[in-house]
């Protein structure tokens, strides 16, 4: 069964390779993609069952033991994230079938499926990597694929956003690789476990090098995960992509940098006291900046998707802030929020996609009374908005509860205050949208349009249902994540 750890990435990779071979015509690419994601979800579910009991899988690729070969490590943390990411992916792929096909020409459509699968493979690879350089390789896979699914759309703003993202992510890759080489220079190891044992000695002889390496890694992954003020690429990239692509990018892809930093910190850097002192403070300051300024920017947006994109900057801030208090409860909240935000933001972008697909309206001001035409879409949008604000019985509330409780437990009421303030800000930019959507009067009475076809609606509503279930019965998930968080913090 241990092979599942490597199959988790190999399945989506193979699917991506299959698309140009077998998925060349008609909707075969879609079928390949859907089948692959289903298999991946099953694989992740099996891993979750295995690791949920508290045992992590350490897989040596090619039977080479860690210092020489590559180790893949799947614990409850990565299994849970992989499972929820695949679940979101399932909805997005199912949704894409109708939305994307008429926007892209056949060649681009083919590669769209392939790139989506590559993105998934990269993300799952990042979440299960236990080797610095392997982490870098998978980071590059997902970054390139992420740029790719932005630029498949043959429009100037998408191309420009993709190029901006690509260049900045090349800078990030440079920082990460330089950080890795600095760490290798002073320790001679790449494997996490061996680095953790070698790092204290390296810190003793060359403390500045280690700190510089950590700073470079934090910058690189911060850039990839849109940590303020390195978020400048995100609004363009996420708003100009196709809606399902935005859902994946905003809901999942930005989290990869966070996951990489979590794991690096938990399994390597926490061995060095100086880093443990410096890094969380640094991250916390930037996270607070992102939460405040991201919210302010979100309030001033007129375009629905740009508003959602800025909201992602805010939510990334939440996750970093909760992480930086280094408390198991808050970390549980942070991990849960990664998942919750993936579900909610995925759903929000898909709902925005439905609205754009049916009415062509993108501006928030044009959405007056849209709920009358598309009530189900609007329900999804409402659930998403409530989850983002953290209304009880939505999953956003559960993660907020843990983040605030953890911050208070760690003696940081200020962090708790910032989280709550930012929730209020979320209400300020989400609620007008919801109110206008349900109760506003449309400027021009549009002809009665039917709701989007069921094949596009059910993925969106499915995500909403999962969010609500997670909000109403969070106990099993919270228990698993609580253990994972304790494990990550070495407690």
């Amino acid at each position: 069964m241990d092979h599942l750890a490597v199959l988790l990435t190999v399945i989506p990779l193979s699917g991506a390779f299959f698309v140009p071979m077998f998925g060349r015509e008609g909707d075969r690419g879609y079928r390949v993609a859907l089948g692959t994601v289903l298999l991946t979800t099953a694989c992740a579910a099996a891993l979750l069952v295995i690791t949920g009991r508290g045992q992590a899988i350490s897989y040596y690729v090619g039977n080479w033991a860690p210092p020489w070969g590559i180790e893949i490590r799947v614990d409850a943390f990565s299994a849970f994230l992989s499972f929820s990411f695949s679940l979101v992916y399932l909805a997005v792929i199912a949704y894409s079938a109708r939305d994307v096909s008429h926007e892209l020409n056949p060649a681009a459509l083919r590669w769209y499926w392939s790139l989506m699968l590559l993105l998934l493979a990269g993300l799952l690879g990042v979440s299960s990597a236990a080797d610095l350089f392997n982490l870098f390789v998978f980071t590059e896979i997902y970054s390139l694929a992420a740029c790719g699914i932005i630029s498949v759309r043959d429009r100037m703003d998408s191309l420009e956003a993709a190029l901006k993202y690509l260049l900045l992510s090349a800078v990030a890759a440079g920082c990460i690789l330089l950080g890795i080489s600095l760490i290798y220079m002073v320790t001679g190891h790449l494997n996490y476990a061996h680095l953790a044992t070698a790092l204290p000695a390296a810190v003793a002889t060359s403390p500045r090098t280690v700190l510089a390496a950590v700073a470079l890694l934090a910058t690189g992954f911060g850039l990839k995960s849109a940590l303020f003020p390195l978020h400048m690429w995100l609004p363009d990239a996420h708003s100009s992509a196709l809606s399902p692509a935005s859902a994946v990018l905003s809901g999942i892809a930005v989290k990869a940098g966070i996951i990489a930093l979590f794991r690096l910190f938990a399994s390597v850097l926490s061995a060095s006291p100086a880093v443990v002192r410096a890094m969380p403070t640094f991250l916390a300051v930037l996270a607070v900046g992102g939460m405040i300024f991201g919210a302010l920017f979100a309030m001033t947006q007129t375009d629905l998707k740009r508003m959602l994109a800025y909201s992602t900057v805010v939510q990334v801030g939440y996750i970093y802030l909760a992480f930086s208090v280094l408390n198991p409860v808050a970390l549980t909240g942070a991990i849960l929020h990664i998942v919750n935000h993936a579900l909610l933001k995925g759903m929000l972008f898909l709902s925005a996609g439905l609205i754009i697909h049916r009415t062509g309206k993108r501006r928030i001001a044009d959405l007056q009374g849209i709920g009358r035409e598309m009530p189900l879409t609007m329900i999804a949008l409402t659930i998403g908005a409530m989850g983002m604000v953290g209304i009880p019985l939505t999953n956003g509330f559960v993660s907020k509860w843990h983040m605030v409780l953890g911050s208070l437990e760690a003696g940081q009421p200020l962090a708790a205050g910032v989280i709550l303030l930012s929730s209020l800000f979320s209400a300020l930019y989400y609620f007008p949208l919801v109110i206008a959507g349900w109760f506003g009067n449309p400027a021009a009475p549009a002809p009665a349009r039917p709701e989007a076809p069921p094949s596009m609606l059910w993925p969106v509503l499915g995500l909403g249902a999962v969010s609500l279930i997670l909000g109403i019965v969070p106990e099993p998930v919270v228990n698993v994540l609580g253990e994972a968080a304790k494990h990550l913090l070495g407690q």
């Binding site: 681009a108 590559l118 500045r208």
Partner: protein
């Protein structure tokens, strides 16, 4: 306006890295931390374990073959992304669309040279485990030969020789070949991408067919890289 912040950023990074350098291990020393047991293991044990003299190839295709699979995937991703971007691009605004050259000397010389280049490329691919080279280098040479063909005879004729669909199929197939070799390890009862540990015969050291799965992977990567270069160039040149 972007000059000042950029300069400040660069100066800041420069300062941090300069500080780092003052305490970095001296360049070229034999007792630096990086020359530790991991490196010695590779150098001492590799010949027995992987059975090929080229340690770098052994690391790329055996010890860290998983990274290399990722690397091949990055190439695949780049081709896919580029192909998607350039799909339907007709080379209309590029100053001069690429066309076949009329130069007779160029055509005849290329006809003569291309086979030799290709043979050399194949040599570099299949002897990558014995001498400097390997799938990536050899694949690039192979791809280079086809690039020469493209430049001289134009995209139209190249497309007739290698239909774009073939290029893409080859791209996927060669990448999947890597996965298949990896799964072979699993089928043989060992881990993914296992070589000697899965009982793949390593062959006689120094012979062409030695190193077990390394040779198979190298072959696949060679095809993959050649296909990548052709695909990229065909797309960049504009579809006919």
């Amino acid at each position: 306006m972007r000059h000042l912040p950029a300069l400040l950023l660069v100066v800041a990074i420069a300062y941090v890295l300069a500080l780092t350098l003052t305490e970095a291990p001296a360049f070229g020393g034999l007792d630096v931390p990086a020359r530790n047991e991991v490196m010695r293991f590779y150098l001492d044990e590799e010949l027995d374990q992987a059975g090929i003299p080229n340690t770098v190839t052994a690391i790329i295709f055996d010890y860290r073959a998983y990274d290399t699979m990722g690397e091949a995937t990055v190439l695949f991703t780049a081709v896919g992304a580029a192909a998607a971007v350039l799909a339907g691009h007709a080379g209309k605004l590029v100053a001069r669309p690429m066309a076949a050259t009329d130069d007779v000397i160029l055509r005849i010389v290329s006809r003569m040279v291309i086979p030799f280049v290709q043979v050399f490329g194949i040599y570099v691919v299949v002897y990558g485990h014995l001498s400097p080279g390997g799938g990536f280098a050899g694949g690039t040479i192979l791809g280079g030969s086809m690039a020469l063909y493209l430049f001289v005879f134009g995209p139209k004729r190249t497309a007739r020789k290698i239909p774009p669909a073939w290029g893409e199929i080859m791209e996927g197939a060669a990448a999947f070949w890597y996965v298949l070799v990896g799964l072979g390890g699993v089928l043989l009862g060992a881990n993914f991408l296992a070589n000697a540990a899965a009982g793949v015969p390593l062959g006689v050291q120094g012979q062409l067919f030695s190193g077990g799965a390394i040779w198979l992977i190298g072959l696949g990567v060679g095809v993959k890289v050649a296909a990548t270069i052709v695909n990229l160039l065909v797309h960049l040149a504009g579809e006919t």
